[in-house]
Symmetry: C2
Subunit: 489 residues, 2 copies
Amino acid sequence: MTSTTYASRVFPLETMDVPGGTETVLRGGRHLFPLLHRAFAGVRRIGVLGWGPQGRAQALNLRDSLTGTDIRVTVGLRPGSPSATDARSHGFTEEDGTLGDWLAVAADSDLVILLIADAALAAHHEEIFAALKSGAAIGLSHGFLLGHLRETGGEFPAGHPVIAVCPKGMGDSVRRLYQQGAEVNGAGINSSYAVHADPDGRAVDLALGWSVALGSPYTFRTTLESEYLSDIVGERAILLGAVHGIVESLYTRYRLDGDDETTAYERSCENITGPIARTISRSGLRAVREALDSAGQDVFDRVYTATYGPAREIVAEIYDEVADGTELRSVILAERRLGAREMSEIGGSPMWAVGGRVRARRGERELSVDPFTAGVFVATMLAQIDEFAERGHPWSEIVNESVIEAVDSLLPYMHARDVAYMVDNCSRTARLGARRWGPRFQAAYEQIAYPAAEQPADTALLEAFVAHPAHEALSAASKLRPSVDISVS
Amino acid sequence: MTSTTYASRVFPLETMDVPGGTETVLRGGRHLFPLLHRAFAGVRRIGVLGWGPQGRAQALNLRDSLTGTDIRVTVGLRPGSPSATDARSHGFTEEDGTLGDWLAVAADSDLVILLIADAALAAHHEEIFAALKSGAAIGLSHGFLLGHLRETGGEFPAGHPVIAVCPKGMGDSVRRLYQQGAEVNGAGINSSYAVHADPDGRAVDLALGWSVALGSPYTFRTTLESEYLSDIVGERAILLGAVHGIVESLYTRYRLDGDDETTAYERSCENITGPIARTISRSGLRAVREALDSAGQDVFDRVYTATYGPAREIVAEIYDEVADGTELRSVILAERRLGAREMSEIGGSPMWAVGGRVRARRGERELSVDPFTAGVFVATMLAQIDEFAERGHPWSEIVNESVIEAVDSLLPYMHARDVAYMVDNCSRTARLGARRWGPRFQAAYEQIAYPAAEQPADTALLEAFVAHPAHEALSAASKLRPSVDISVS
């Protein structure tokens, strides 16, 4: 699906072994900052449109990394944007020309990074394109606009490089780990990059420079389409939607089994965001099963067997609908419908009140991995990995979108704040997707998977898990990044 | 949206009062059978393509009703169809020319009634259209093909009347109640009819004749588009999808509250398919609340208040997606994906094992309406009614698709067989829709509605329920049909 081999005139590249071949990767780090002026040749002004979590993080990281060069980073906002105050408090001001109206900033920049919300991008991309200087590069961190243009018959304007650098984590982590990277070299959020249009041959190094300047520990190549599909599907599956469905279904199951509220929460939500995420992050997927005693492994095996099939069915359905454009149409319809009325929040369900109590008693004791929960979660993760592999995604993208982004970024965030907070506060497109698909996982698991969890384990399925090429790919990706816990305030 | 006034050259028509005006209705009955030859003027051969529940019921009813005329009813099947044996056992045979290859039957008929599965219709409608005699009428019982043609840029062939007669119930009921109609005049399933193309002025009476011959107690007018939307949305909402989601969420809630399995089942699923459906069928929607004592009414009012909003959000989302074509695309994608592999069944979830025990002890005692369950169910029903009314559907269609088809046809069927049986055995399009949307109702009710059920009732909302124009429309529709219990084997 995508050529993962490339060359750079500026940065030293490495080769990473992946199942079935190799991928070229750029290992990042502050030692590369002196090369940035070469990667950004021809770029004097970078305009970051938007001051959401990604906009803020990227503008701050870029400005810090480009200190000492004559490249200026300017933030562009919609007229009357409530974000102006926060941007000013971070040193982006009208007075020194580093804060302005988004169209004016777009007109003045050599690289325009579009980090406004999807709905705004859908509504205003034509005005922004029309404002661009001749030959200015268009930068995206998300494939949404590609999907939107395809659905609506639009196009990127000719003659402009179109590149993407997509950090595989939330904006807050992109900034915070960059700051940690001042002490621990290489701390940061991995990114993928894509070159969608390259009229003058500059695009690869411009994208790589952008990624290095963001602090990406490693940068791997993909296509805008591949990024879009893995991102939109991932947030509906193991990154958010399925997590919500899983924890609701497990919490209910444990309560029906007789557990009190706190125990049920610790066995379900707390277990996933805590010990399971940590184990995978430090030691990989197999370690989750290996850490269990033999009775626990028996439970894991049966539950994994029962869950994998239903999980795979749903991930395949999500993928088909995202690839077809159907899912995007539903997002557009929802935006229209919700124009008048905000989405209802799920944080009011009884489960989340329990979460507060559980977080208060953390540290009293070490929570061990619950084998039933682990079987469900790992099976769902493998279902997504297998679906992406079948569809031809690069291995680096598969493991980033299916494992690393979850266990290093999203789940720790949910551990600090809880899943409901995430579901009610992430991007609109992700919220809509989680609402559509979370309940599908919940219902399928309650009605089909859990009733089958008493059945004997499928040894072939478990052998495929143990021997899975993903472990090697994950391990290779992990070597290229120090294990740094995100400090979440 | 639709003109509900029309004239017939053959049948006597009546006027029914509905909120905001009147609708023309045709009251059916066997006394009208002597007029059929006039309605079917120009039609010597009727070809029924398909021998599923609708195909079988319609072919049998038509043949019985047209006994003594020279109009022949022939069944057309795909080559190698496994249904041939059953068709022959019902007296449709190759020997007497009443059974044949579907394209040959299409080529030979003056009215071709397309009752094959949606997927087959999508794949083969062009061949069927190409086979038609000049001027032959095309008959549908479902608006699916209209949706499909719009999505794919296709068209009905010019020069052919295109009519629809859509019984508002399952095929088995269409046949069984027709047979009961031999004793009780007017027993049957109501139908809507639509004229999509009328090149020679015959279409209205052809459609009305078809409906009378099916045994429809009353026939009301709609458009193919309106029928399609209300039907596809309805099966995802109160007719099936929402019912499944409701019973799963209530069963779990009652179990978490401490009810044993049998009590939880009786308060949820059994309550809806039994006393609630029966009360609405005999006495209307308000009677459900009126039958409760004052403590029960307080529960009903709070639960209705908490459920209506979330229910309305989801019905609106379903409607947008069906109207936009998005839902149809997902059906097509699912057909493609499931081509190799059957849909998993939901009948294995623990709830349904309990159903068997509960059915075995029926008759031991009279089950009374559970106020919590009633509030949830009635609120969901009203949410659909209000959404259809807002979108401009005729009142007869609103009450048929939101109330009558549920309480007179589907819920009694589920009472005999259980909801899971229905979800696993109805039409493919309905099954897919129930799987997509049932979990949405379940999750929204568990996470948003039930946590809010302790809040005070919204008196304005309850007043709107009590004063709702739907009660009048439902009552008018009920007057036109004797209350006959479906005998389900």
